[in-house]
């Protein structure tokens, strides 16, 4: 797990600099240089969408700044939420007068910081709402939804909220739609190998080689069970069972699907997993309206994958279909 880096303490800032050099549609702003915004001025009166979180999950979070998606993103250090100050900057940057929806993962620090930033923004006369992604079904039982973490499924909320904002809907509406997307999205992942924090000698958590850590979080939070890996079909079946056992699965038989690499698992394997998942979904009569397969929400070089389902209604379907462009996701 040798990393292509200079110094651990420069990891985040050099990576952000390289990202913006590659994608001039992104610009770095903010007192600490930790807020990414769109380079092109957005229409005044549009509800702003801000997000933020720890670094090490590219393309999440800041890679999704772009038309029809985020307006601004606060960037923390590796696996550490953005500061209150940076979070505040991101809200201010996203605002054009119509208020800001903050759409973040449900991690203690991130939530607290965005709440404090929201309170500070309110002192400056900026209205904001906070919606927390809670799609990771492994992170808490369904009756403790408020404890669940947000992972890859956050992208569906970005997309739906972004489309609603781009359409000119007001803050209440954009918030409602984001919340609906969160409510109807579920993710389950598994890890096959850990990742290393820059500057450390050994991974902070262990995944025994040959073993699946089912439900492991994107920071290495322990999973639901571990056992030897058997096959793509078998793990797909465990995942689909887990996702379809959620109450939300009764609301719709039409889904958006994401097969996501946690980092090191290559496209070849994602597509094998995708094939398995598709077979299982079609056996259950589930219609896949749209699909994304790739590295969308990662943990640096962690190996493994996640499967996300967003159970669609007409409104979410429309929002997901609306045009959007950012460096890592284009819908046209």
């Amino acid at each position: 797990m040798t990393k292509i880096i200079n110094a651990p303490e420069a990891y985040v800032d050099e990576s952000l600099a390289g990202l913006c050099l590659a994608h001039p549609s992104l610009r770095i702003v903010g007192d600490e240089g930790r807020v990414l915004v769109r380079s092109h001025v957005k229409s005044a009166g549009k509800v702003g969408i801000a997000s933020g979180g720890g670094f090490g999950h590219l393309p999440l979070f800041c890679g999704y700044v772009g038309e029809g998606l985020l307006d601004a993103c606060a960037v923390g250090n590796v696996f550490e939420g953005p500061t209150v100050g940076t979070s505040l900057d991101s809200i201010q940057q996203a605002d054009t007068g119509a208020g800001v929806l903050c759409l973040i993962g449900n991690y203690g620090g991130d939530r607290m910081n965005f709440e404090m930033a929201g309170a500070m923004a309110a002192d400056d006369g900026i209205r904001s709402e906070l919606v927390l992604g809670t799609d990771d079904v492994a992170s808490a039982p369904e009756d403790q939804m408020e404890k669940r973490r947000g992972v890859a499924g956050l992208l569906f909320a970005y997309k739906c909220a972004g489309a609603a904002a781009e359409e000119g809907r007001d803050l209440a509406e954009v918030t409602r739609i984001a919340r609906k997307a969160v409510d109807r999205t579920r993710t389950i992942g598994f890890a096959l190998a850990p990742c290393l924090m820059p500057g450390r000698d050994a991974p902070a958590f262990e995944v025994v080689p040959g073993t699946v850590e089912f439900g492991m979080g994107i920071h290495g939070e322990p999973g639901l069970w571990r056992k030897p890996f058997s096959s793509a079909d078998a793990i797909a079946s465990e995942m689909v069972d887990k996702l379809m056992a959620e109450t939300v699965s009764e609301t719709s038989s039409r889904v958006a699907l994401m097969i996501n690499s946690l980092g090191a698992s290559p496209y070849e394997e994602l597509f094998i997993l995708h094939r398995s998942v598709r077979t299982l979904l079609s056996e259950r009569g589930i219609d896949v309206a749209r699909v994304m397969v790739g590295p969308f929400v990662t943990s640096m070089e962690m190996a493994g994958a996640s499967v996300s389902l967003c159970f669609l209604d007409e409104e979410l379907d429309t929002m997901l279909a609306a045009p959007a462009t950012c460096p890592f996701w284009t819908v046209s």
Partner: protein
């Protein structure tokens, strides 16, 4: 007799002067079950506080709010954010005070604790910094002098560590390893004890756990 902004500033300078061993010790405590950064985060925050140019004259509250503001750009860790929240709440509560009487410190700690609980949604008994503040709040009530306050505070933070060491941790990352957290000090609680010692220039280790 009152504690002024200048006193707080001096305390921060004392903490900063001895930050390195404190940083190491807290990182070590956090590395048992957490991500091993409590010390690093705290050192970063103390550093910007010690650096800040604003004059610690005027109202205590104004100074505390200034500290909160610089701290808010220094760290994204949970513990840091809770300290910032505490500084903001206690700053607002002392906006018009040139100084705080030793007997009023308990109430101010209560303000900080209440704010931390509101922000984090964490109750007492979860083995976090909040439990240290609760103990501090109770132990310093009725302090009659600065020396008395210091003595009571040292006793209270030690007592909190002692009381919770054998209990499991119920929040954050360590929660997922509840059982393994038994027998170890919570890094946030340990931080309170070490910060207090450094602030008042006490030499002793907190409650006999050599770390």
């Amino acid at each position: 007799m009152q504690i002024t902004a200048q006193d707080i500033s001096d305390a921060i300078a004392r903490i900063q002067a001895g930050i390195e061993p404190l940083e190491r010790r807290l990182n070590e405590a956090d590395s048992h079950l957490g991500d091993g950064d409590t010390g690093t985060m705290l050192a970063r925050m103390i550093g910007v506080m010690a650096d800040q140019q604003a004059e610690p004259s005027g109202a205590v509250g104004t100074y505390l709010l200034q500290l909160a503001k610089v701290a808010a750009r220094s760290t994204g860790s949970s513990f840091g954010t809770l300290i910032i929240a505490a500084l903001m709440a206690s700053g607002r509560a002392t906006k018009d005070c040139d100084g705080i009487a030793p007997g009023d410190v308990s109430a101010l700690v209560g303000v900080a604790r209440t704010e931390m609980m509101a922000r984090s949604g964490t109750g007492e008994g979860a083995k976090t910094v909040i439990d240290s503040l609760a103990s501090l709040e109770a132990g310093t009530a009725g302090a009659v002098s600065r020396a008395d306050l210091t003595q009571r505070a040292l006793v209270a933070t030690d007592a909190a560590l002692e009381a919770f060491r054998a209990l499991p941790c119920r929040v954050g990352r360590a929660r997922i390893h509840e059982a393994r957290s038994i027998g170890n000090d919570d890094p946030g609680m340990l931080a309170v004890a070490l910060l207090l010692r450094a602030a008042v220039g006490a030499r002793s280790e907190p409650c006999g756990k050599a770390g």
